[in-house]
């Protein structure tokens, strides 16, 4: 039962990643692109957590932690650069 639910969740998050790529390519403004990249990071974290369940190993949690931090910092620095023309003032 867990395997079937895992397959379903993999399908959902994989489809979500494809939709994010579509929005990343066909975006109307730069804010949309940043938002699509941020959502891609979140979907990647979910896929990593699911992959950890599939493999039965806990080694991927450090990876997802680091990806979460990197995604947050990159989103904030990108938006700050667009707003102020500088990342650290």
């Amino acid at each position: 039962m867990i395997a079937a639910a895992l397959t379903f969740a993999f399908t959902c998050f994989g489809l979500g990643l494809l939709m994010n790529i579509y929005r990343l390519i066909r975006a109307s403004s730069i804010g949309d692109r940043i938002l699509a990249l941020d959502t891609m990071v979140i979907n990647a974290i979910a896929l990593l957590a699911l992959f950890g369940i599939l493999k039965g190993t806990m080694i991927y949690f450090e990876v997802s932690m680091i990806i979460a931090m990197t995604g947050f910092i990159s989103t904030v620095s990108y938006t700050r650069f667009l707003l102020r023309g500088d990342v650290i003032e």
Binding site: M19, N20, E62, T79
Partner: protein, 135 residues
């Protein structure tokens, strides 16, 4: 058996939430509306997936870990901050201040007020010289 049902339910619900969030990103018509779907639904979806993973390792493998809770907490804290920054970027790059609805205080939106104007208005408000109809 009960743990199996709980984990499967969490996985399915989190998958649906993630799919809805990403579908909203391509479906909603306006950029400000599009901000809603990923920052709320997808964050909830990934939180569900992480909780399911924590329950799986506790009930099936017998080892408890706080990592998932830490990641979920981190994402829940940072999602509003990134949403705020992206909304502000969109506001400044794609909208003119004259297009926005007026505030009721007579001052511009806080995001557009210069530092000098802000300091002057706050000093006037602190000394009580602000006219009563301006509020």
């Amino acid at each position: 058996m009960l743990a199996d049902i709980l984990i499967s339910l969490l996985l399915v619900v989190s998958g649906i939430f993630g799919l809805v969030g990403s579908f909203g990103l391509i479906k909603l018509p306006d950029a400000m509306m599009r901000l809603h779907a990923p920052t709320k639904a997808t964050t909830l979806g990934v939180g569900g997936a992480l909780i399911a993973s924590m329950l799986y390792f506790y009930f099936e493998k017998g080892q408890f870990s706080f990592h998932e809770l830490m990641i979920a907490l981190f994402l829940f804290i940072t999602a509003p901050i990134t949403g705020h920054f992206i909304a502000k970027t969109h506001l400044h790059l794609s909208h003119k201040p004259s297009d926005l609805p007026r505030t009721s205080s007579g001052r511009p939106w806080a995001s557009y007020e210069s530092d000098a104007d802000h300091a002057r208005a706050e000093a006037a408000r602190a000394s009580g010289t602000q006219s009563p109809d301006a509020r």
